[in-house]
Symmetry: C2
Subunit: 430 residues, 2 copies
């Protein structure tokens, strides 16, 4: 925990830097995995399951029976919670479906855009101790709303060859069309290349370890798109004198528990709140059942005292946090000053975990400073926006001279001729 | 020119393949250029200008005097044409600025999105014989509408050290903030890294040769975003019995003249129109002042006769063309069947060159089949969409149990606690 009081502005850049991500030379390993999947298809995946996940999987495709059985395993309160989250996420993402507005730019010249789904998308859900069914909600719901025809999901099996029932239940609920038991770089390779069982897809979404991240980058060589570049998760909390230290500490820790590389930044303009939040963070940390990861993450964290709310916002815009919590008075008044952030939480009751699970916003967000140039996942991530234009003969007459003059100035005479020949032939009719 | 009559559906995939792009091993060359620009800044750029463009450039930044002088060089009819194109492109892209709609997903839980500009963007405009001022319009107009603070432009100087006046005029007109005389991979490196003169940017746009394309890919290692992956330009024209062969031929040739690697596909359901279009293409080709490039491009082109309009659309969706022209009766009735395309031109008077220059739509579009998973450039390309949420105490009460249940099921206890501690402390107040 680095505690810094009133640093000069020219020192800020020190505290904005993320720890360098060790990008090991994984290209060779990843290329090897892609080549095996390309050559041996499903059998390669079955072998990798055994090798990397210690799992026997005769059939990598999850059966209807397994899904039905999973539904029976889930407690009713969890089912209801997932259902309620689904409703909110659906409401918010459905509001992102645009209407079609035809613009008449010149008389007789109509231009507009229409959304079309990306036909085939793939969702990767990591394994490990936490079954990330919330990420299934965040990726499958907008995919289904967008109208994607094939929504496939890959996730590694446990040593018994099973997938966590909450993942199966959520995937079924949100319209995932096929679920496969395969994890890591080999799952990404399978979705990029296709195998006997797994269809190749046009875009791959979802978090993962360094192998998955490297495989997603590598998949782009096969003309597959990916959701966004990856980095460790982050929160930046801004607190003034009316913030509540217990809440701030809880938010900081809920980020810190994600992993030892999580980024946690606390900015305050109030010394009392500042010191109490530091104390409260240490108290709450001790009480967490598994506090090792959070403890590691807090070592890299910055607690910084600044003079004004404007200073905290300027710092935040430089840092470009994935999550930004404004625990300040009349927080909505400061929205216009926010330039770079993935998702913003306003006031004392908008905790990050609301957006992580159930408020309706998407939790797949730009990290590592990418909030400067990338948006989080939304309905837009699952569609292409195609432009259309319809010129009447009159429209082309109105615009013809302009097109001809520009094409000629660029030395593109066939471009000019596409207009000239139309106007000439139509004129000859009279 | 490959002429194919009524191929079986299982043969289509042959005609959909793009010629493999020779991706030479440029990484080492590009890495070398980045390293020189990083080390020597402006001086490296001045040296590269001499080496690659044969140009002496003491000052790489274009001066106000040069811009004023350029304005005097441009004929008035070209000025008016550029101005009219600007108005149309502005109208269409301004219509893409969304309103803010707050969604109450649960009582007391408000979620919404707001656009924020990407602060610093870079535009690359290639040199060569054609001065692509139209691409300046297509990239600078949405950048300015989005509110990007710094819009810089790099383009290679001629051997006299000058930039084409139409590029300077258009850049000034569309709010480009600084123009630099530097081309190729070194321009991309400068925009990614920054030099004494050139500010580093967060996103780089624009077309270029294989070195520029490779440099844009490489720039992503420096956390810079790029507009989209690159490939040769394409058009697919669909014609029925009421199409006009002269128009179809002119459209095919206006694509073919872009370069020897341009892709041109013609689909028809009518044998007479089909044969006449082939004949007319050959006639018009002979009359073009510089037909060498177009002749080369036509060698790889496909002219395919199919049975039904539905077949042509199915073929087109598989091919996913950058430009799609529907020279068919009641073309608007077929819009719903278009799944994959960059931009669509409807009817006999919507020639591709209208969209290339002046109708209002953007001409920076996905090629090489990327219309399956990417959109063309739009206002969206220059903004981040930040999500916001504001939960009242009541809102958190309504949603709290759901969040707690889900967090616990994912094993994330600090996430649960961020809710529990808020509800507990508020309850204790009473």
């Amino acid at each position: 925990m680095n505690v810094i009081q009133y640093p000069q502005k020219n020192e800020w850049s020190k505290f904005i830097k993320r720890p360098a991500i060790k990008k090991e030379k994984l290209t060779e390993i990843i290329a090897g995995i892609f080549s095996q999947v390309e050559k041996n298809g499903d059998q390669a995946l079955i072998n990798f399951n055994k090798k990397f996940d210690g799992a026997e999987t005769k059939n990598i495709k999850v059966s209807e029976e397994e899904i039905t059985y999973a539904e029976e395993q889930i407690r009713n309160d969890l089912k209801s919670a997932i259902q309620e989250a689904k409703e909110n996420i659906t409401k918010f993402h459905a509001s992102q479906i645009p209407g079609v507005e035809k613009i008449e730019t010149t008389e007789g010249v109509f231009c507009w855009r229409e959304n079309r789904p990306i036909d085939k998308v793939g969702i990767y859900i990591p394994g490990g101790t936490a079954p990330l069914f919330s990420t299934v909600l965040m990726l499958a719901i907008p995919a289904q709303l967008a109208g994607c025809k094939e929504i496939i999901l890959c996730t590694p099996p446990d040593t018994q060859g099973n997938i966590h029932p909450a993942i199966l239940f959520t995937a079924k609920l949100c319209g995932v069309t096929e679920i496969f038991k395969v994890g890591g770089a080999q799952a990404v390779a399978a979705m990029a290349l296709g195998t006997e069982s797994i269809p190749n897809v046009y875009k791959i979404f979802g978090p993962g370890n360094q192998y998955v991240v490297a495989a997603k980058e590598f998949a782009q060589n096969y003309n597959v798109a990916i959701d966004m570049p990856a980095g460790p998760s982050e929160v930046l909390v801004i607190a003034d004198e009316q913030a509540i230290p217990e809440f701030c500490a809880a938010d900081l820790l809920s980020q810190a528990e994600h992993g030892s590389d999580s980024q946690v930044v606390f900015l305050s303009t109030d010394e009392k709140i500042f010191n109490e939040t530091i104390r409260e963070t240490e108290n709450q940390l001790a009480a967490l059942p598994r506090n090792e990861l959070a403890k590691e993450a807090l070592k890299n964290s910055h607690f910084i005292l600044l003079n004004t709310i404007d200073d905290t916002l300027a710092f935040s815009n430089l840092y470009a946090p994935e999550h930004l919590i404004l625990a300040i008075k009349d927080s909505e008044n400061f929205i216009a000053k926010i330039q770079n952030a993935g998702s913003v939480f306003l006031g004392n009751f908008s905790c990050e975990s609301a957006g992580d699970y159930a408020s309706g916003t998407n939790h797949t967000l730009p990290t590592n400073g990418f909030a400067k140039n990338y948006s989080g996942v939304s309905l837009d991530s699952f569609v292409k926006k195609i432009t259309f234009q319809n010129l009447s003969e009159e429209g082309l007459r109105n615009l013809g001279k302009t097109i001809e003059t520009m094409a000629e100035a660029e030395g593109l005479f066939a471009h000019r001729n596409a207009v000239s020949i139309r106007l000439k032939i139509e004129n000859e009719k009279f």
